[in-house]
Amino acid sequence: MDPRRPPRTVIDPKVRQVGFFAAPEPIASSPPVSDISPSGNSLSPVMIPPPRHSSDAARPVLFSPVPPASPGRRDSLAPSDLFPASSPTASSPCADAECAFSPGRPLRSNSVRPAAAVTMSSSLPGRGFDLTAAVTASSVPATGLMKIPSGFSVKNAGKARNASVEVENEQGSNSKPLKEKTTKAERRAIQEAQRAAKAAAKGEGKAASVVSAAASASVNVKPHKATKAPTVAASEKKGGGGERPVEKERKKEVPPPRMQYDDTSRVEKAKRRSVVKQTEARNRVELFRHLPQYEHGTQLPDLESRFFQLDPVHPAVYKVGLQYLTGDISGGNARCVAMLQAFQEAIKDYSTPPEKNLSRDLTAKMSSYVSFLIECRPLSISMGNAFRFLKSRIAKLPLTLLESEAKASLQSDIEQFITEKIILADKVIVRHAVTKIRDGDVLLTYGSSTAVEMLLLHAHELGKQFRVVVVDSRPKLEGQRLLRRLVGKGISCTYTHINATSYIMHEVTRVFLGASSVLSNGAVYSRVGTASVAMVAHAFRVPVLVCCEAYKFHERVQLDSICSNELGDPDVISKVPGMEEINCLNNQANCGNLQPLNLIYDALPSDYVSMIITDYGMVPPTSVPVIVREYRREQLWM
């Protein structure tokens, strides 16, 4: 136990206040974001407004948090492995990502918690576990719930093998809604108490601790091979019963590793399960064997022909998937909105099969949809985040809700996510960013970003006099579409290609970039070429401003663009439109020595970024983890 930190009550702030902390309560006192005058420079350079969606407090919070992530998830092929984008944080309550492929598995194993919590709190007198207060609304998720087993598993000691079954059975009776809150200090204290308890338990018999480990594992680990898993888990964990919870806790902090496509056995497994029959590209770049690369254009006719046979996939989802596949929908926000709307449709048409739990079945269904979408195109980080949100919502549906009510609630949740996190967020970003545009500026942008486009149009509407340089690159040439729209609105534009960036940078005063995601180390994950443009801007001392909605932030870190990326169709590289005389690559394409490489994303190092403009204000890249920590928990998973 930590003697220095007095036990806190629930009313205390749930996180230590470090850095940019906006107090949650005085919402009225601080200016609402919408009041910020768009033209005036009234904004302080760095400003994080308080959470705007405090209305969430009014929404009924009846459900208890979901169980935390489990260390054993690598056993199962979780969807989170497949989409590089989403990785349930350990501390995030939506950790049942790993259950995606085991529909029969009880989802709401969180309902064991009452018993466990009681055990825990009784074993830890004086640790402020105010269970009744916990029921009241609060936005901080209880995280460290992993530590149940010390008390709990002893109770189950006799049933080591069947522990998981037991736990599942229990949940029906113990479904009393409850919300727990722990501060970090408390969690640590609990951990240490458990460790002490374990050490003591070890003395009387190692069996108990083993059992506890097994029990805890089987509560939380839901490997897709349900028959084998508990024993495996038990045998695996025999070694270190004592330090188990600590390790788990630590593991929860790191996002799970992604699916690595150079691991043949896993790829085989994934293939067997897949709906879209992808053919592996023949000629792959050695450096990128860990990323999926498929022949493009081969699977589409097949999918189209099977449109009416694929009953597991909802038509709306199916349609969106095909649109991803063909590239009709691209761009982080557009893809995310399309996915969410398809899910909304799917939820509308959903009806719980008899003798099944709505939330459990629906989550499984959603996960299967997502894995279908991943097969069409790997999810972007923003989509992963959105899906995490949806899953946490489903998981937290109170059991007492009628099916129609639950569906309505989920649909409105999705609607709210789209409006608040994407549409409103963009508006706020534009309001912030427009203060950085002065008359006479020359603004450079790369590719086509919706946020930047909105910003430019808004600034133009405000009557600011500026010029835009649109930098573009092959193979997508998204900039041309942006250029057309901007010129159509009467904005003076200069168009050039990425190689000429250093020529044009002399006259540029600001660089505005969009982003696919902002990672916790400040790296900006964006369309390929962004890093080059930012690098040149940095060399010419031009400020680089990145516009990115906060829902795209992610706690993963990345140093280069190679470890995690997406590979596009390599053939478009070798075909240069309008230059047939040099398209001699085509006849050589079968030659094993020549490989076109089409990367989609780029990790832009944080030292090239001057400022990141989000819906929470304008922050330096070093503050990204602060936003991820402070706002993610409160807003996304309350």
């Binding site: 690559l585 020549l594 089409n598």
Partner: protein
Amino acid sequence: MAEVQALVNELATKLRKRKVEGSRETARLTAELLRTVISQQRVTSAALVEVVRDVGQQLIAANPVELAVGNIVRRVLRIIRDGDLSPEVGGLTLVSQGDDGDIVEEDDKPFLLSDAISQTILHPPSLVAQLESKPNLVCHFEGKAADKTPSSWQFKHQIIEGVNDLIEDINTCHELIADQSLELIHQNEVILTLGHSRTVKKFLYAAKEKKRSFQVYVAEGAPKHLGHVLANELTEKHLQTTVIPDSSVFAMISRVNMVIVGVHAVMANGGVIAPVGMNMVALAAKRHAVPFVVVGGTHKLCPLFPNNPEVLLNDMRCPSELLSFGDFSDCMDFSVGSGAALLHVVNPAFDYVPPELVSLFVTEIGGYHPSYIYRLISDYYSADDIVLQQKPAS
């Protein structure tokens, strides 16, 4: 002289219309033209300098960005000046008899001779000797005297020989550069290059032929996309080649061991004029501490210092390479109150890479650091020819 002028005009037209591109090709054509010009001339060295300079100015005016023209003209001038001095040493009598009494010249005489001797002994001459000597004046006074003597034929023959050597140098520089490839490329090296350069191609071929196995990333080099051509040629030699779009250069450079590129011209400060996009590659290489190696023959050495090279030493290419005309025809004539067009398309041909981003120059006479380029330039060019436009007062 008319037929010579026709030839000059022909090349000038080609240059102006950018029919001749690539510094090597331009250099070769220029040298051959100058050889013809010299062989047609029946005048002595002083007049020859003037004639060559005139032709050079016409060619440079035709394409001021093609620095190789100026380089070759200067090289030829240097050959003329050198050839001019050597008979002088051989026949001291010739000089003294021709010199009919300018007092100012008298003072310079001993000085000149010693310089001439030192120059022939140390070939190429030192910078100091070049700066102190006054070959222009020598030419003038000697020109009058040496006319129609047997030595003038010998002298012209020498010059023609010199120009032939120069042409030969230009033709063979690839092989000489390629010979050094083994010293720079190790086994399993990963090399990145941008666009297409014949020198780079030969360089890589040479390493491959000597059984080095390595991997090449070729950035396609918009807007010309000549990287595809290079990639094809490399694949024919069974080199492991990966084509990447220019935008992926930053992503890939962290896994690259060396950047080898060909350039358009090397400036006196060690900076290079290169195909567009090179500055980006060089910056990325600098960021990841990847050596940035420039290969190129000495005919690319330009004795000028760059001043605002992005603008002054650049070519603007056709916008249709970026936007097809049909697509944006409705936007092109869109204009606001000021009457200015809303849409501009910028398509420069060249990029300037400052010397601090270049790690090494590999020329046919060896590898050099950018800071040493000034010395090579003083070896190859006469100090009087550096500014070609400025005509002597006489």
